[in-house]
Structures are given as C-alpha cells and as structure tokens.
C-alpha cells in the first residue's frame, strides 16, 4: 500500500466530466497568464469550487503541473518544505536535493538560503511548469508565510503558481498586484450564475426543476456551489420542490447544516453511520475505514459514495484513497460530536492502531492524541522521537508534547531527553532545564534499579555535563562526565561518547591539553564506533581549535583532514555539522598564511554552520573570517563579519566563543583607529588588565595588551610599561600551560612593546624567541597581521634557524597592510601640508563638513584633498587611507 502521505497529497483532483464548465473563469485565468500574471489566487470561503476551478484550468494549460493539497499537519515549516519539494519533484525531476539536505540538518536555515537553493535548482528548466498549493488557509505559521513571500518574489522564471485558500495568505499581495503579476478569483466571481445553477441542478443532477425554482434556489444560496449541490441532493426524489426551495433561508452555515441533515436523512442507516464514523479521517481507504467502522466492505461503500456525488473526492488514479470535501467533513464531524460523542475517542483509537500497524507513526500519534489515549501516544512518541528530530520535524514533536497533559509528559523521559539534546545543539541553553526537570520527575516515578531507568538517568547526567561545559561551569561539567563514565558499561558507547565529548570541552577550557586531547580522542573513537556522527564531529572540531592555541597545528590538520576525507567520501551529503570542522581547519590554514584554502574552509564552515544551526562554529568561523579580511585590508567586511558573529553569540553560543570575538573586535577597532571602541569592547567583557590570568580570560588580556601597545604608540608612554608587565604575566601563564599558540601572540606583542619603548635590543630578542617557536608548526599570520612594526623587527632577527624563518616571513609581507614602514619621503609623491592636515582630521573620525569647518575651507576642497591623499597612498577608502598612513608613520 502506498503511503497516503507521499502520494495522495500530490494528486490533482479527479474531475467529473459532467461538472458544470466554468469557461468564463477559465478564460479569465488564461487571459491573466497571457498578460504575465504568473500567480493566481483563488480566495473564497469553503464550498465555492476553488479546487475544482483550478484543477480544470491547470489541466488545459498543457504543461507539467505539481499539486499539493495541504492539511493542518503541514503547518510545520520542515514538513511543509519537504512536501513542497516532493511536489515539485513530481514534475521537475530530482530537484531540491541540496534543499532537502539542509532540512535534514534538523534546524531551519534562513529563508533566503532555502529560497535561493530551490530557485537555483529550478531555474534551468526549459519549459514552464505549474505549482498549485491547495487549501493554503491551513498554513498559519509566520515562518512559512515569510518563506512563501520570498519564494513568490524570487520565483524560478518558468514557474506558474496557483493558490486556493479560504482566506488571503499573508503574502505581499499588494506588491504582486502593483507589479501586474496576480490574477485573483474571489467569492463573488465563483458564485454560480443562474445558468450555471441550472446546469448543475437540471443538467448534472438531473432534477426536474422549474426555471423559477432554480432562480429562487440560486438566490437563496447566493450562488454558493456547495449549498446548491446539497440542495440538489436533498431534492432528489422529493415532490413539490418549490415548497422545499421556499423553506430555505438564513445564513450559509444554517442552510448547510439544514441541508446536510436533509442529505444524511435521505441515506440508508448504514451509509449514515459510515459517513459519520469515517468523518474523523483526513484520508479514506477501504482497509482503514473497515478498521474504524468495524465493517468489511468499505472500499465498495466509498465507490458508492463517489457515484452518488456525496462530497467525496478520489485522491489517486486507482481510486484507493479518497477524502471528503473539507466542508462536508467539518459538518459530519460536528454531527458526530453532537449525536454520538461517546464514539469519537473509540474511532480515533481504531484509526491510531491501523496507522501504527501500517507504518504511519505520525498519523498514529495524531489519532491517539485526538482519542486522548496517551498510553498509546507516549510510547509512539518515545519510539520515534529521534527519527523525527533527525528529520527536522521539531515543531510537530513540540506540538504533540503540548497536547499531552503534564502528568503524561513526565511519563516520557526519552521524549524530553531528545528535545533537550536538540536545544543544546542549537544553543538554546535556557530552554533545556524545563525538559531536564521533566526527565527527573519522570525518572522518579520509575523503578530506580531497572537498567532502563539507570541508563536514562545517566544520559540525563551526560546531557547536563555538556550543558555545564558550554555554560563555562567546568568543574561541575567534569564531575558529571566522570560520574557518567563510572556508571556506564564500557560497551555503552553512546553515553561514553557524550561524556568524553563533555570532558574534552571542559579540559580544553581549563587549558589542560593532555587531558583534553585524551578525552577528545576517546570521544572520537567511541562516537565513530557507535555511528554517533554529530558527537564525533564536535569532538574533532574541539580538538582542532584547542591545537591552534596550544601550538599543534600539524597534528590537528592531519586528524581533521582524515575525518573530513572519510566523511566526504562515505556520505553522499555529509551532515551540515561538519561545518564545525571546516571552520576550525580554516583557522589553521589562516595561521599558515594559506589564505585561499583558509577562506574556502571558512566559507564552507559558515555555509554548513548556518544549515546545522550550530551557533558555536558560526561564531568562531565568522571571527576567523573577520581576521582574514582585516589581514587583507578589508576592514568593512571584517566589521560586518564581527557584527554577525556578535549577533550569533547573543542568539546562544558557548561562553568559550566570546573571548576570540572580543579579541578580534579590539584588533579591528584599533586597526580602524578607534581606541574608544576597543576600550568599550574590553569594558563589556568585565575583564581588566589587572585580573588574574586564567585560560578563559587570557585571550581578552591579550586584547588588553594590544590596546596598551596602541596607546603607548600614541604618546601614552606609561602604557608601554604597563603592557610589558602584563606581557610578563601572560608569558609565564602561557609557558606554564604549554600554550605555544598563545605564547607566540604574547611574544609578538611584547617585542613591539619593547621596540616602542626604545628597547630595540630587547624587542629583537623577544622577536627571535617568537620566530624560533613559530617555525616548528609554521605559524605565519601572527607576524604578518602586525604589519610594518613586526617587519622591522624581523629584519633584525639573528641566529641561524630563526633568521632563516624570519627571512621567509619577510618574503610574505605582500598585502597593503603588510607594507614595511616607510617615511613620508618614500611616497612617490609626498603629501602636501594641507593633505596631511586633512588626513590627521580624517583619522580622528571627523566628517568632511567638520573638517571643512575646522580648516575654514569648503567641503568640495576637502573632497579634493581627500582624492589627492587616496591617490598618493594608493587606496580607495577612508579606513584604508588611515590604516596605510599609520603604517607609513604619517600619523
């Protein structure tokens, strides 16, 4: 049996050839299409023939069309998007593979990413194709509306789209109307004219009605198709139709209720029962209806209903699956609730059982929840939760959790644990504790000694350990992880993997390299053995990042490259969480000055990081990208990346990502000649230059050191001495912690401090020390990023090995920011006195108008001087001019 989910939603309604032809409306839609109206909106209440009109119109267009009938369960972004792609694949072939890969990540990527991916896939199709979204009013989720808004504004060029809905969707309809893209058909257009009513009643339904009765009936129902059809059904076999017609009055709902009872009353008792009992089903199948009604010939009954025109719609060519017209189903359900309320739960229960037995757990849960049979719903949820989480159906799972009463929720520790893991991965740390509380409450109700209880308790502990680790509560995290390891059997690789991952992260933040490395390697091994790909990737990325600070670049890149190669060759589409490794590898290639490789890895890291929703990797990849751009002189790009990183951090990222972010903010602010901004960033960190050094704060203290160097060079000589004291403390801490990557940064800054303080010999010696350490692992950017002052010091480096590496580094100073220090005299054309004045004021952040006022010249004169400055310095932007001038010693 085909899945009703994967097939019947895509079938175009099967049209009865005797249906009333609506040629006027079809002509209007065709005319709209010829005028470039690629979007058709059919918006009217239920029962106006919206789907029938669109199905008839689409069928005569003569090009491929996809049809997607939406239902309430589709009001979930992940599910909606999956069905949208599946519908498009019906006509466009294997499109949307990347799109589906993004959804498989379990987190919704940004709208523009998804729209771009899908539009790109569909843009190459040579012929037009149509997409119909039927029953769109069930979609109320603002995320989906936003997606659809972007989709209709950036659609593939060959797409023609039709929407049927009971109410206008929240799309930019005004813009589409103004841009002449939209044809609208509304209730007033869909009302039957008298001739159409006559065609329905006397033609299609074969009623013997006088023209005056047809006219009166059409007037009473206001041309409402469903009302006319129900009236026609009620009139079949009835004498004196005129009196019946006269009796009809009131609102649609009243007429509808009245007529439905009339129509039902005309049916044999067995058919009435069948209609009411199967009204709880969104899709009808012979077997399913047998299970729900207890009958044994439902397939024939369904065929009979179709023949009798009783508001039943076939959903497939084989006529195995049907559905009731939505309006009719609503009325039948209301009738069932009114007349046999005691039966409703039993019917849902039977449906749930059938769906479960036939492999449709989602529908099984829907009906179990509707039956309030939580004893069925909860195990169904627990047994399938990871599948749905991996599919990205979080919204649906959370919806069920809301429908399940608290007393049953706490009986579902596995479901609560699953949801807590997802929030941890996405950085929603504040949302985890409520789930953990429910886990604890539910575990308290179970047999404490049962192996399953113990396992879940231990998993909860592993989860808390990881949570505490990302929150920076390291001792607590380590204690919990060690408890997990003590409690679990060595064969329980899943839990041991979680524990080792947490331990690695906590030890890394404590700068305990050997322990962290051992824990990470253990995590990688056990996660690989247990196919826990996500944890394996996270452990490897943590190990790689740690190695950058500790000076083990080669080991890190070898380990990471092996895993990336394995994943890329073994998985058709590696999971997007792999972006965490790409970002970390990008950092190492940057240190090695392999800029294009670094950029490639960082870009891939960012792209996949966005898809996976792994905020930590987005933050550190953006920070690294900012550093790369700053190194290339693109300060604007660097600022944008840092702003994005800061925003991402606020959305929820581990505490350990903050130090590098602040450090880079300081570096950029100083490169922009904005010391106040640098000071503000440091103040926000609440870590002062006098604080005791810890592995957590040392990168922020390095940023303090950079600021002191800047201030010292700007004339505050006492800052240089403060800097040297701080450098001493940082050196001692980095040496004792064997963090060579950090030590190098300290030494390179310290060498510049000494030189700036006039101790050229001390500066040279410190630089020699740095070069000696750096050459082993090939650190380069630590020197190159500092520009001319470091170049000068490198030129003075002595000693056989160090001098050779220094010469290699000197050969790499190529970009404008790497240019050696030069005097005004070394410019091809020196700046005029006025240009120097303008440059100085530009560096102070003054606008052209302010400079003009200060120098008592016109703004145009200032522009003229600025142009001259740019030309002489060989730059194109103000920030570049200031930076270059600083490096040339012109400021």
């Amino acid at each position: 049996m085909e899945s009703p989910l994967l097939s019947v939603k895509f079938f175009h309604p099967v049209l009865n050839p005797r249906l009333v032809q609506r040629s006027g409306l079809v002509e209007r839609l065709n005319s709209g299409l010829e005028s470039g109206h690629w979007l058709t909106l059919v918006s009217a209440p239920a029962g106006y023939g919206k789907s029938t009109l669109v199905a008839g119109w689409i069928s005569q267009l003569g090009f491929p069309s996809a049809w997607l009938t939406l239902d309430e369960a589709d009001d979930d972004p992940a599910r909606f998007l999956k069905y949208l792609v599946a519908a498009l694949q019906q006509v466009c072939g294997p499109c949307g593979q990347e799109f589906l890969g993004l959804l498989a990540a379990g987190s919704l990527p940004p709208h523009e990413t998804l729209v771009t991916s899908l539009v790109n896939d569909l843009s190459n199709l040579s012929q037009p194709f149509a997409l119909v979204l039927d029953n769109l009013q069930v979609i109320q989720d603002p995320w989906i509306h936003e997606f659809l808004s972007r989709w209709v504004l950036h659609r593939p060029p060959n797409l023609i789209m039709a929407l049927t809905t009971r109410e206008d969707p929240l799309l930019p309809l005004a813009r589409l109307r103004a841009n002449n893209c939209l044809t609208e058909v509304r209730a007033a257009d869909l009302c039957f004219s008298e001739s159409e009513a006559a065609a329905l009643l006397t033609g299609m339904m074969g009623l013997d009605l006088a023209a005056s009765d047809v006219s009166k009936l059409n007037g009473r129902t206001e041309g409402w198709v469903a009302g006319l059809q129900l009236a026609g059904l009620s009139l079949q076999g009835r004498g004196n139709p005129g009196a019946f017609v006269d009796s009809l009055s009131g609102s649609h709902r009243f007429i509808l209720g009245y007529l439905t009872e009339e129509v039902l009353g005309c049916q044999p008792a067995s058919i009435q029962d069948f209609l009411l009992e199967t009204a709880i089903l969104s899709h009808l199948h012979g077997d399913l209806c047998d299970a729900v009604t207890g009958g044994d010939h439902s397939a024939e009954v369904l065929e009979g209903l179709l023949a009798a025109n009783l508001f039943i719609i076939p959903l497939d060519d084989e006529q195995q699956w049907y559905r009731y017209h939505h309006l009719f189903a609503d009325l039948l359900r209301a009738q069932l609730q009114r007349t046999r309320p005691e039966l409703v739960n039993t019917l849902h229960d039977r449906a749930s059982l059938w769906y479960e037995e036939h492999g449709f757990p989602e529908e099984a849960i829907d009906h179990a929840v509707a039956a309030k049979n939580f004893e069925r719903a909860v195990p169904l949820l627990e047994n399938n939760i990871w599948r749905w989480i991996n599919q990205g159906s979080m919204r649906r799972v959370e919806g069920w959790m809301k429908d399940i009463p608290p007393e049953w929720q706490i009986k579902s520790p596995r479901a609560n644990l699953g949801l807590a893991w997802v929030h941890l991965l996405r950085g929603h740390f504040s949302q985890i504790d409520p789930y953990l509380e429910k886990v604890n409450a539910s575990l308290a109700l179970l047999d404490a000694a049962a192996p399953e209880t113990l396992e879940m308790r231990t998993e909860s502990m592993a989860l808390r350990s990881n949570l505490r680790q990302v929150q920076g509560r390291l001792e607590e995290s380590i204690a919990l992880a060690e408890q997990v390891l003590a409690l679990t059997h060595p064969d329980n690789l899943k839990l041991r993997g979680f524990a080792f991952l947490s331990l690695g992260g906590a030890f890394r933040q404590q700068s305990r390299f050997p322990e962290a490395r051992e824990a990470y390697l253990q995590a990688i091994a056990v996660c690989r053995a247990s196919d826990n790909l996500v944890s394996e990737i996270l452990a490897l990325s943590g190990l790689t990042l740690m190695c950058v600070h500790h000076g083990h670049l080669r080991f890190a890149i070898e380990t990471a490259s092996d895993t990336v190669a394995r994943l890329e060759s073994s998985c058709q589409t590696p999971p997007p969480i792999i972006g965490a490794i790409y970002g970390a590898m990008g950092l190492i290639y940057y240190e090695w000055n392999e800029l294009e490789t670094a950029r490639m890895y960082l870009q891939r890291g960012l792209q996949t990081g966005v898809y996976s929703g792994h905020n930590a990797s987005i933050v550190y990849s953006r920070v690294a990208m900012a550093r790369l751009q700053q190194g290339e002189g693109d300060l604007t790009g660097a600022a944008e990346n840092l702003a994005d990183a800061a925003q991402q951090y606020r959305r929820g990222a581990p505490l350990w990502t903050l130090a590098d972010l602040i450090s880079q903010q300081v570096s950029l602010s100083l490169a922009q000649n904005r010391p106040a901004a640098a000071e503000a960033a440091l103040k926000e960190s609440r870590i002062t230059a006098q604080d005791e050094i810890t592995p957590q704060n040392e990168r922020i203290l390095l940023a303090h050191l950079r600021l002191l160097l800047y201030q010292g060079r700007s004339g505050q000589k006492e800052r240089l001495q403060e800097g040297l004291k701080l450098a001493d403390r940082l050196t001692a801490a980095a040496e004792s912690g064997q963090r060579e990557g950090i030590l190098l940064q300290v030494l390179v800054l310290e060498a510049q401090l000494r030189a700036a303080a006039g101790d050229l010999s001390g500066g040279r010696q410190t630089m020699e020390q740095a070069v000696t350490i750096a050459q082993g692992e090939g650190y380069r950017r630590i020197f190159l990023d500092e520009g001319a002052p470091v170049m000068e010091l490198l030129q003075k480096v002595q000693g056989e090995g160090a001098a050779a590496y220094a010469r290699e580094l000197l050969g790499l100073f190529r970009t404008p920011s790497d240019l050696p220090s030069a005097s005004q005299g070394e410019l091809l054309e020196p700046l005029t006195e006025r240009e120097s004045e303008v440059l100085t004021l530009l560096a102070q952040g003054l606008k052209y108008a302010d400079i003009a006022e200060r120098l008592v010249v016109s703004v145009n004169t200032v522009r003229y001087h600025v142009k001259g400055i740019y030309g002489k310095l060989g730059v194109e932007k103000q920030t570049q001019a200031v930076e270059k001038a600083r490096m040339l010693g012109l400021l």
Partner: protein
C-alpha cells in the same frame, strides 16, 4: 431566519477599518493590504483604514496579523 447582515453578503467587497497594537512597520502593511489602504500610527497603535476587500481578504489579514503577535482592538465596516 433573516440574513444576519442584509447589506453584506459573503462575497461582497466592503471598506473596513482595523485598529491594532503591534510592532509591525508601515512598509509591511503596504505590502499586504489592498491598494488604497491608509495607515496611521500613534506609538504602537495602528489604524488601518479604507481597506477594500471581501470576507476572505479581511479574515486573512486579521488572522495573519494575529499570527504575527498583533492585538486586534477593533474591526469595523465603514
């Protein structure tokens, strides 16, 4: 039973006024409301007037704004 509102049938277009509280900007209203609609803002209170649409249009607008977290204060036919 007499019609609930003899002046307005289900498919008729009418001119509506909607007052709501919410943090939605005017540009957004302009993209979703029919042409000719007017907007007035006093702090967080918005008045959308001259909305010419039918029942499906006004229902979709109200529900969409509700889904975005807006609080509907008043809806009337002018």
């Amino acid at each position: 039973m007499p019609p609930a509102h003899p002046e307005t049938k289900i498919g008729d277009q009418r001119t509506y006024r909607l007052r709501l509280v919410g943090s939605v900007d005017e540009d957004f209203f302009r993209t979703i409301c029919p042409a000719g609609s007017a907007f007035q803002q006093e702090g967080e209170l918005f008045t959308l007037s001259n909305i010419q649409t039918d029942q499906s249009g006004i229902l979709g607008l109200v529900r969409g704004l509700h889904n975005l977290g807006c609080i509907i204060i008043e809806l009337s036919i002018i």
